[in-house]
Subunit: 330 residues, 2 copies
């Protein structure tokens, strides 16, 4: 948590908290979006202000800063926008009841955060059910003395929850470490501490292990409306290796992470791929060569076999529109 | 050099030298094969023995040990076998002229080593010529203000020599580091010290950069007769990413690295992929999960656009037979 505890959250505190959000390398996009909502709740409750209009001005500015803090992570912008719409449209923005606006702003943030947590839990449960069915079925060409195996990489809250929910089904999980910060090792540790059989590999071994597993599972920091996903660098390599080995990659992702495919940059240049400091690579400043440390990459829909959101599972990206509009579901 | 200097090379010295060959993570396959020839030269000159037959027995055993030291590196076995055949068929093996056998054994090792160095230099020169033609041509869809760019990974003597020979053609080289030992950083440093523009990336970024370069170049530790190559783990990911980006991967490799495609394990199980100690991954022994550290992988011919050996360049693996039999060349 990047907040200020019970202290009023003034501009300086807020700026510091935004910097921490920008700097966070370990949280997934959903967790980070909820972190932003917590900052908005705290701002609503305690940003120094004497009037309704002044408080809204401050909250609106802060929402804008948070929405722009992590350009590669759509849920941050999406959930902050949802909060802004909710508070902006509330009649608490009129009149002079400062306490009421504080209450509305805080409660909206808590409600949206809770809804997103519910969505995350539902995606994980659906992904778990799907894996249980897929891995448990007899159609796999695996020798009978070999456990079903799943390949993944980096850290994803949804993936962590889906895998640890596979009670009763003995599964081996192979995790690529995800240089430079090795969030994959965090996932490997988490899974092992939950009693799972886990093998950690270097990212360079992804193709070697694609041929030894039954399926791959990944989360996504952003889901594009055409089915492409934006996720940690290395995801596209894993997807290519799985497609080449003729094994499926399942992308598990809450629908609040969805943005228009236009954001992929097909019309406006490059996708918003955050780049982190070069010194994370660990080679020291005196090296005679340059470094690049791009954190995210886009994996196109054609390399993904199955999409899992909280509203259901589809094997064709065209079905995602239906999933993002649950009222149209039969 | 893993030898004993001017001291006679007894069995203990030799065993120590073989262990160093097995443990070597930084030398390419060609350099390592020449290292083995140097040990055979030294053994021929100074292995303690009083008779021709005893010396040959010792040399034959030592050749066998060296040939088996690096199962993923065909040139080690190939050049040692070439030496063994050469000495074994020599008439110095008959009679009682110990000095003559010592001389033949030493000279054969030096000659085969020199021939292999010539082959390496020729491959590098051919690869350089090919890159110069390919990158210099107007057909590339690169903006005119952008330098031609080549992607590679790990360390390869041939790649290092081919790239640094590109005098006059301004090229940017992107090198993937190749965890766990980051031999790619050694290549990046070598190229930068030779005045080249170099960018080092994590292996996880290979797909991101495949789309930004004109071609990829790699060496090979082993070339299979069907055009597949065995090279550092990560090579197949680079090949998949290049194929997906519709850009060519060029494999540059001396013909003495060739073995039958049968060795790929299509008939007898798995290819000989050396695995190195887990602690190289740097996570410590107390981790609650397992590690795998497979160093090599096979990249199939269908992912390679062009093969370059000392005898010529082909774009179809069927042409490799012609190249490995130079007398059939027109």
């Amino acid at each position: 948590m990047y907040g200020t505890g019970n202290k009023a959250m003034d501009d300086k505190d807020f700026t510091r908290a935004v910097a921490a959000v920008k700097d966070d390398r370990t949280s997934g996009a959903g967790a980070l979006a909820r972190q932003c909502l917590a900052l908005l709740a705290q701002s609503g409750a305690s940003a120094p202000s004497d009037s309704v209009s002044e408080l809204w001005r401050i909250l609106d500015i802060r929402a804008g800063e948070l929405a722009a803090a992590r350009p590669s992570m759509a849920p941050v912008g999406n959930l902050v926008a949802r909060w802004r719409d909710s508070v902006g449209e509330s009649d608490a923005r009129g009149g002079s009841d400062l306490g009421r606006l504080r209450n509305v702003a805080t409660e909206a943030a808590k409600r949206i955060s809770a809804e997103s947590e519910t969505a995350t839990a539902r995606v994980a449960a659906r992904a778990c059910d799907y894996m249980r069915e897929f891995l448990g079925s007899d159609r796999r060409d695996r020798p009978s003395n070999q456990k079903p195996a799943v390949l993944t990489l980096s850290w994803s809250g949804v993936v962590a929850e889906a895998l640890t929910s596979l009670h009763g089904l003995e599964v081996e999980v192979v995790v690529a470490e995800s240089r430079p910060r090795n969030e994959g090792a965090n996932l490997a540790r988490y899974l092992a501490e939950h009693g799972m059989t886990v093998t950690l590999i270097t990212d360079a071994q992804l193709s070697l292990f694609a041929e030894q597993v039954d399926m791959a599972l990944c989360g996504a920091d952003t889901l594009f409306s055409d089915g492409a996903i934006l996720n940690k660098a290395g995801t596209r390599l894993m997807a290519l290796a799985m497609a080449d080995a003729n094994r499926p990659l399942v992308a598990a992702c809450e629908s609040f992470k969805t943005i228009s495919a236009r954001g992929q940059g097909r019309e406006d240049g490059a996708p918003p791929l955050e780049e982190m400091p070069e010194n994370e690579l660990g080679y020291g400043k005196s090296s005679p060569f340059d470094f690049r440390n791009i954190y995210f990459e886009v994996t196109p829909a054609r390399l993904i076999a199955t999409w899992c959101t909280e509203n259901g599972i589809v094997h064709d990206p065209a079905g995602l529109t239906r999933l993002s509009n649950p009222s149209s579901l039969v």
